[in-house]
Structure formats: structure tokens, C-alpha cells
Symmetry: C2
């Protein structure tokens, strides 16, 4: 009987990679008069999925990150995983 | 003498608003064979900026959220703020 899990996956650009959305946002904030030095934008995926147990759930999240949610060349990622009620 | 602050602003869609990017991601994960029920996508802005003190820094983050980083009609947001070295 599988259980439902919630993974929160945080995906950010590795340092050294330019972040066009962050740069545009920083420019817009400066245009509004704020003393902004830098903006970096990252993403959070909240994924609700089924797995047999916690070990399998962790393996599935890792796979989903590598295969679809992140680009291993330019992204760093981290996740939290919890079993749902 | 102003100090530098780092705000991490979490922006997510209010519940009830459909999340096209999340839906597309969920479909793609199902297409790869994962038992995914739902995906929601949110954003994190890391903003480095100057302010006179912590109180002003908090006020500036609130303003930046309302004026540019979020759409108060459809987004929820939360932030963490810390003074940088």
C-alpha cells in the first residue's frame, strides 16, 4: 500500500551562472529608487507523489530532480521530504 | 551609514489559483512514469540591498514585495531578513 509524500525541491543557479531574471528584477527595483545590489531568483517545486516507503520516496525525488526538475550542469538543488497524512 | 541586508522572499500562488507551470511539470513527471498527484511552483527572490537599520529594511522589503515582486491579488508571500557582514 503506497503512501503519499510531499517533497519541497529548491532549485537555484550555481554561483557563476548569470541570472537574467534576477538582473532584470534588480534593475527594475533600482528604477523604483531602491538601493539594490543584487537579486537572485530560485524556484521551489512542491511535488505530491506516491511511494512505497521513505527510502523509495527519496530515490524517486532524486530521479525527478535529475531527469526533469533541474539541469545538473547549471543548477544546485536541495529538498525536504515528508510523509503526508 | 547604511548597512547591507539580505531578504529571502518566498512568493507562491494563493490556493485556488491554477498554476500552469506546476500542471505542466506534473504532466511531464507522469509521462516519465512517476505517480505524481500535484506540483505547485513558487519563487524565491534573494535581494541584497541597503537600509539604515532593520526597521527601515523591513519596510523596504514590504514595499518591494507590494510594488514589484508580488501580485497581491493572486500571490501569497513571506520573507526572512538578515543583516549581512
Amino acid at each position: 500500500m503506497p503512501s503519499r509524500y510531499l517533497a519541497r525541491v529548491y532549485v537555484s543557479l550555481k554561483s557563476g551562472y548569470s541570472d537574467p531574471e534576477g538582473e532584470t528584477t534588480a534593475r527594475a527595483l533600482r528604477g523604483l529608487g531602491y538601493g539594490v545590489e543584487e537579486v537572485r531568483v530560485s524556484k521551489v517545486y512542491e511535488v505530491v507523489f506516491e511511494a512505497e516507503d521513505r527510502r523509495e520516496a527519496g530515490e524517486l525525488v532524486e530521479e525527478m530532480c535529475r531527469r526533469l526538475l533541474t539541469n545538473p550542469t547549471k543548477d544546485d538543488y536541495a529538498y525536504e521530504l515528508r510523509e503526508m497524512e
